[in-house]
Every structure is written in structure tokens, then in C-alpha cells.
Symmetry: C2
DNA sequence: CCTACTTAATGAACATGTTCATATTTGCTA
DNA sequence: TAGCAAATATGAACATGTTCATTAAGTAGG
């Protein structure tokens, strides 16, 4: 009985929530301070005040521990990205406005960001993977929506390919932000300028005559 | 004296070449048979007939060992890609012909390919990294050349942006092949079809009116 | 409060990547 | 050929991610 209530207020559940919070905080602190490889799971466990084995009850492995930390931030950043879209703005301006929060976020900890971007490349298993993939899909869908909005404003060609167009635009972003993070001193504005050029090519197209 | 000659024919150099070959063969065999994580450096050392520590005289770390194996293949594949370009073919057909060898190569060992693609994302240090980056740059340059050829044939707009256009086309390939490798049963033709759609959007463009 | 049962936590043990002091081999000179 | 110096090879030792048999804590019924 009272299983529902116990699931939220029982001592067991409270302890679990508290431990998860402590683990996440300790992991974030050490990942940011020392980088991913240099932050050992033992250090994280000590800082969180739990035993080593306990970490792996809350994250299936170290990579999952990284996404336990990053997912929270990433979801907030995606919220800001969605909020940055303006129905009346030009497609290219909307795209830049939407991607800007992501550049700002990943620019804060370039070393950790590089690792995160690498690990998320083929990240499919583990409890945190689902959350991450959801967030990414939200961003791709946002791109598709921006294309559709521009279509409905008659700014760009109407076709049933807005889905793929959104994916293509997001692909440019993925490659551009990786390129940006490998150049040491590059600012957010540098990155966005380069992104703009890439997106612009997709919007303008290469061929001389539009096909439709 | 005779340093030059010794560098190719001396017993020392011959032994080194032989060991490198044995290490590379053993690593390839075990990576393909067991996958990257499951192939231990100890196994590789035993199969190559060298001591564990010797491995790390020939590769600075396990990742470098992977690229020691992959770089050879990748350079051959890049050769085939360059050879596949036809000056008289349409841009899109040239791109597909050029990327086809890469799809065939990565499709052979999907599990290992996924790992390779992940590791190469931010791969900058280590002796093998330079070789790999050269090969990638060759592919990007090839894309730029294809764009320039199409420009000179008056197929597409002339502008000084062919450099960036080549990068954008290659970006589509990078994302598409990753997507392809995450779908279990997808054939090479499936992948190339999806790639064609993506590239086609870049060539056609989204906007209604060409800017120039 | 006690007892039986379920769930969570622990850390020693294991496997693996990497390093480094030591030993071995090779090339050269006398 | 003997001896020396430089290059190369070795594997025990270390650090770290992960597992799992054992211990502790929490929950519910009597």
C-alpha cells in the first residue's frame, strides 16, 4: 500500500534523489575542472560522498555519467533555442538566432564540449542516451519548422522536402560547430559567421536555375 | 656512414618494418573479429609476436593503433574516389560516384566503422593523425574541384565560394554516412539514395530566386 | 518493537591501457 | 673479433573503468 506516496516521500526515494544530485554535482565539478579523462570515477565518488560502486547504480558507465551532467544543461539550451525563433524573421536570421545559444553553451568549456560532441556521435544505449537523442531531435524539428515557416511566408520554394531541408541545415551546424571548437581562439561571432556562410549556401543553392 | 642505405636495408630497419607489419596485421585481424573495445592490446601483442610494451613504440596509444590499421585502407579508398570523378558528368553524379567507394568501405565493418568515425571526429595528435587528416583534406579538395569543374561547364553559379561549397557538400556526406551506419540493415544503395537527396537540396537551394 | 523480505550500498577484485626502469640487440670502430 | 654506444624490446608495475558477492538499510506485517 501507499506505494505511490512512498515513491516520492519515502526515505528510500529521498536518499536516492539526494545521492543522484550529489553524484551529478561532483561529476560536473570535476569534469569542468580537470576534463573528462583526468576526472577519475574514484575522485567523483569521493567528492559525492558515495562508494565507487554506487556511481554505477546511477550511471551505467562513465560516458553516461557525462551525459547525466550535460543533459540538464542541454535541455535548457534547447529551450532557449526554441524561444529564439521569430515567425517574421528571415530564415537565415532565425537559424543563426536559434544556434547562437548552442555556440555560447559549447564555447564555455571547449575541452569538455569536444568530448561531449565526440561521445554523442554514436550514442544510443544507456539511460541518458534517450534524453540526449530527444533533445537533438527537438533541434532538428525546430529547423524543419523554420523551413516550413519560411515556405508559408513564400520566402523559399514550397516542396514536400522541408523535412530533409531541416536535416541538411542541422548537418551544417553539426560540422561547423566541430570545426569551430578545434580552432583555439575563435569567438562565438567567428563561429556564427562561418555557420552563416555555410547555411547561406544551402539556402541560395549552387545551380543556376531553380528547378521548379 | 652509410646512414641512408642503412635506413632501408640495415637489419635494424628491416626488423622494424617487419614488426610494424606484424603489429598492423594482428591489430586489423582482432579489431575486425572482436571489435575495438573487445580487442585487448595484450591479445594484439601476443598475435603480433611482440611484448606488450613494444606496441606503444609503434603507436602512441590504442586509438593510434586503430588508425595505423585504417589509414592504409582509407588512402586506397581515397585514390579510388579521386579516380571516379568524370569531367563531363553532372555534379551530383560525380559526387555520388566519388562517395560510393567510401560507403562500400565503411559498410564492410559497420561496428568498426562507427568507432573509427567517432574517433576521427576530434583526432589531431599522434603520428597517424596527420595521415588521416591529409586523406580527409584530399576528399574535401576533391569536392571543391568537382564544384569548380561544374562551374566551368556553366552548370552552376560562378562565385568565389566554391571552397565553402565543397566543404558544405562534404559536411552532408559526413552526417549522412553516420546516419546510414546507425540503421542496421541499410544497403549501400539506401545510403547513397539518402545522400543524393541531401546533396540535391544543396545544389538546388531553398530560396525561390537565385541571388545572382 | 520484532521479524522477514526487498532494495540499495559497498569496496575488494578484475581487466585493460599505458609507462618506464631494465635487459637485449644492433652497428660501428679499433 | 672484441668492445662500446645507441637504438630497441621487454614485462612488471601502475592507474583506472567496471563488476559482483557481501553487507547494510529501509519497509511492511504481526
Amino acid at each position: 500500500m501507499l506505494k505511490r506516496a512512498a515513491a516520492r516521500t519515502g526515505r528510500r526515494e529521498l536518499n536516492k534523489e539526494d545521492k543522484l544530485r550529489r553524484i551529478r554535482d561532483a561529476a560536473r565539478k570535476l569534469f569542468v575542472a580537470n576534463g573528462y579523462d583526468e576526472a577519475s570515477t574514484r575522485q567523483i565518488a569521493v567528492n559525492a560522498g558515495v562508494a565507487l560502486g554506487t556511481l554505477f547504480l546511477y550511471a551505467s558507465n562513465k560516458r553516461d555519467l557525462l551525459f547525466l551532467v550535460v543533459n540538464d544543461d542541454l535541455e535548457k539550451v534547447a529551450d532557449r533555442a526554441v524561444a529564439a525563433a521569430r515567425p517574421d524573421a528571415a530564415l537565415i536570421e532565425n537559424l543563426i538566432a536559434v544556434f547562437r545559444p548552442l555556440y555560447e553553451f559549447f564555447g564555455k568549456e571547449p575541452r569538455l564540449s569536444r568530448l561531449t560532441l565526440r561521445e554523442m556521435m554514436f550514442y544510443e544505449s544507456g539511460p541518458q542516451a534517450k534524453r540526449f537523442l530527444n533533445t537533438r531531435q527537438r533541434m532538428i524539428d525546430l529547423c524543419k519548422d523554420l523551413v516550413r515557416i519560411a515556405q508559408s511566408r513564400n520566402e523559399i520554394k514550397t516542396s514536400d522536402r522541408y523535412r530533409r531541408a531541416g536535416e541538411v541545415l542541422y548537418a551544417i551546424f553539426q560540422i561547423e560547430i566541430r570545426k569551430w571548437l578545434t580552432v583555439p581562439g575563435a569567438t562565438v561571432e567567428d563561429g556564427l559567421q562561418s555557420l552563416r556562410e555555410g547555411l547561406d549556401i544551402v539556402i541560395t543553392g549552387l545551380s543556376k536555375e531553380p528547378r521548379r
